[in-house]
Amino acid sequence: MVPEWLFQLKDFISQPWPWWVAGPMIALIMFILLFFGKEFGISSNFRVMCAADGAGDMADFFKYDWKSQGWNLLVALGAMFGGYLASHYFASPDGAVAHVSGATIESLKQLGFNFQEGQVPLVPEFYSWEALFSWRGLLVIVVGGFLVGFGSRYAGGCTSGHAISGMSALQLGSMYAVIGFFMGGLFMTYVLFPLIFN
């Protein structure tokens, strides 16, 4: 028999996690990686994957010791497992919902997303194969992916590498990068979203 406290633990983990649990947990992950002599940064994996596919023949940027970066691919693989476990075994009691604020629900309405309070899905419906056949879905997945891949390498890191690792180490460059992230994000949100959605 499975002891009762294990079920209680499962229920406890299944609640939505507050920011003050998630933030320190991310810092812990960064610390553990540093302890193993590695630096936390997920977007480097795109470079590794390009290099592993032979991109080194076409650009020197991909001629480097990518085999020493195998550990980072394992972190990404683990993140996939983590996503699987969280969504299949530790689902929130009220379902896969994003608990966004009332103000956000109003802003979403202005762009044509009509959700009731507490009904905003965790994942939007345009993350689907069918949506790829609409210009909007194509824009979000294909153009969005391209910009993330291009921009993260140009800036030398993404949210994990700059906003977390770099800012924790008080790196001025990372602060510039985070300013850049927000300039781009705000431009997309306030200038381009009204053209894309609606």
């Binding site: 609640q15 996690w17 812990l28 540093l34 195998g70 550990w71 683990g78 905003v120 977390i164 949100t189």
Partner: protein
């Protein structure tokens, strides 16, 4: 065990970002509208705890399991690549509502279409590699 520990670290990362809803397009939307403290709380508390950890590492000259002192490489001093590259990344982050970590996490939770996002991101990185010498840094 030598390598499998990285998978465990990844699982912890995936569970954390999924359960804190940081993988959600709507949470990123909310963040860029400054309508909740949630995402800022995650980022700021991670930086605050992380900064204490980094200072601890530096002041105690902590050694990694590799046996050498932990060094955190300094980033470039120039700002151009960070602002321009960061701006491009920010456009994609807000549009797609996911950054590289959450992409892997949602891919694992069953959104297989994100393979297309992954291939697009690899293409973006590849194009950067091709154009690198021609871009301001």
């Amino acid at each position: 065990m030598r390598m499998s520990k990285y998978i465990l670290i990844g699982i912890l990362l995936g569970m954390t970002l999924y359960k804190a809803e940081a993988v959600s397009w709507y949470r990123i939307f909310e963040m860029f509208h400054f309508q909740s403290f949630h995402m800022y709380g995650i980022i700021f508390s991670a930086i605050a705890v992380g900064a204490v950890a980094v200072q601890l590492i530096k002041r105690t000259h902590m050694k990694s399991t590799e046996g050498t002192e932990i060094v955190i490489q300094d980033k470039d001093k120039r700002w151009q690549r960070y602002i321009i590259g960061g701006f491009v990344f920010g456009l994609g982050w807000a549009l797609a509502g996911i950054c590289p970590g959450p992409m892997f996490i949602l891919l694992g939770s069953g959104y297989t279409v994100l393979i297309v996002f992954l291939l697009s991101a690899m293409t973006g990185t590849f194009v950067y590699g091709l154009l690198r010498s021609k871009l301001p840094h």
